[in-house]
């Protein structure tokens, strides 16, 4: 009886969502995540053959709040510099463009990623733990496999679940029903989202990424972080790095919400990266240590 009522509710909710499109999600969500223009420009500038400390510093300096955060992070004990970094150009020279880009992305996403994502049953900082964990995990996978640039794997890992933040308000009070449906049907959570909502959080994130004009491979990784094999035969290595990084983060229990571990994991992904099971265990071992070291950095952000 209870099950009947449950599925009746589910159907009503599904019908209520039937007319909603990805465009609606972006247009009608009042609390949509944003990336400061300066962070996006830095992300693109790093890829330019003409970029240097000065161009990166100048782009960042336009956004005072972001600049202050980046400087605070650069001066944190995490980097162990023996003198204080006073301006952005200096931060870029000392830490490198790619590190400063990642700091800018961390500083730009922390304010909204650390908030609760109620729709997915994620409390304060839980989304952040998961996103940052995936960034660290994807970076380690990239380092071990040498399949793609570590900084790109980091940034993409950080952004992989932005769709959840956007979709949160639309799935509030429905997460349990979606999980139940996925378990009952024996399908991954993202497949259940597609069945019930018409799209999943990966597609919403990818759509948002396109709106932000993120690099194509970053958008692809956001869209396919749960199903990298669907891009075969040409799977960009960053997609596999984020897929495996996300698996590590879920396995370690970092920021698990109502969707838990209800996701698929592809052994093909691991094979494409040329990683063995033993190497994955090694990454997992290193992963927790790296994450803990980064916690020092979190402290700086909280204080900022």
């Amino acid at each position: 009886m209870e099950e009947k009522r449950f599925f009746a509710t589910l159907r009503v909710k599904a019908m209520a969502n039937a007319a909603i499109t990805l465009q609606d999600i972006v247009d009608k969500t009042s609390d949509l995540p944003t990336l400061p223009a300066a962070a996006l420009k830095v992300m693109r500038e790093v890829e330019s053959p003409h970029s240097n400390a000065s161009t990166i510093g100048n782009l960042l300096s336009v956004d005072q709040s972001l600049s202050v955060r980046v400087l605070r992070l650069a001066n944190s004990a995490f980097y162990g510099l023996n003198r204080q970094v006073k301006d952005l150009n200096e931060a870029v020279v000392i830490l490198g463009m790619k590190t400063v880009k990642n700091l800018a992305m961390v500083a730009a996403t922390y304010p909204w990623m650390s908030r609760p994502v109620k729709g997915y049953n994620l409390g304060p900082r839980q989304m952040w733990c998961h996103a940052f964990g995936t960034a660290v995990g994807a970076q380690l996978v990239a380092k071990m496999s040498k399949a793609c640039r570590e900084d790109i794997a980091f940034t993409t890992g950080l952004l992989h679940d932005i769709g959840k933040v956007a979709l949160s308000v639309w799935v509030e009070n429905k997460i349990q029903a979606i999980s139940y449906y996925a378990t009952r049907e024996g399908i991954p959570f993202d497949a259940a989202e597609r069945k019930i909502l018409g799209f999943d959080h990966c597609q919403v994130g990818g759509y948002l990424g396109e709106k932000w004009n993120l690099p194509e491979e970053v958008v692809l990784a956001i869209k396919h972080h749960h199903d990298p094999d669907s891009l075969m035969p040409d799977v960009p290595p960053v997609v596999d790095c984020v897929h495996v990084g996300n698996y590590l983060t879920m396995a370690m229990g970092f920021g698990l919400g109502g969707d838990g571990l209800l996701y698929g994991v592809s052994e093909e992904s691991l094979a494409r990266l040329g990683l063995s099971s033993a190497e994955l265990d090694e990454i997992m071992d290193e992963f927790v240590g790296s994450y803990e070291r980064y916690e020092e950095l979190f402290g700086e952000l909280t204080a900022a």
Partner: protein
């Protein structure tokens, strides 16, 4: 009434107490939270295991990280506090699993299953009585063990809280 000592058992941690502690393993994914109790001395312990076995070619920085080194280390700590190995009772939870595409019989990406199997094997080999097991499935778990009452509770995001067992009998 004395307040219970709150012991957070973080990843790879081993925590033990003579009395009055409440142990918590927060947000277990594929990891295992294993609790042990000596009914006579009252000594209790808990460990948060991440991986089934230590690497043969790497030094072990934190014994609690691995099932093979961690369980032995926790028992050693408990014995130092006065526990007797023949009286120990145990319970464990965690070892959540993800879906697998491709070859479902492969355990390469199933650290939850490998962790559970390793713990089971070690406890069986040592002959310990296991009073409660809650493993597998897709949900993250938080495990709380209250030493004074012996009650072990398991909470999941969607399933709420349930009593797994009582180590006091």
């Amino acid at each position: 009434m004395a307040t219970a000592q709150q012991l957070m058992v973080g990843m790879a941690d081993i925590k033990t107490a003579k009395s009055g502690a409440t142990f918590t393993c927060l947000g277990l994914g594929s990891c295992i939270g294993l609790a042990a109790f000596d009914r006579e001395s009252g000594v209790a312990g808990m460990i948060h295991i991440m991986l089934p076995e230590a690497f043969k070619d790497k030094p072990v920085e934190k014994a609690g990280k691995f099932a093979d080194t961690g369980i032995v280390a926790m028992l050693d700590e408990m014995f130092r506090l006065g526990a007797n190995p023949s009286r120990l009772v145990m319970a464990y939870a965690g070892g959540a699993q993800v879906f697998k595409f491709g070859n479902p019989s492969s355990t390469t990406l199933d650290v939850g299953l490998r962790n559970s199997a390793a713990v089971e094997k070690i406890l069986k080999a040592k002959g310990f009585r296991v009073l409660g097991i809650d493993i597998g499935g897709p949900n993250g778990r938080t495990v709380t063990y209250e030493q004074a009452t012996g009650i072990i509770k398991v909470r999941t995001v969607n399933g709420g809280e349930k009593v797994l067992c009582n180590l006091k009998g």
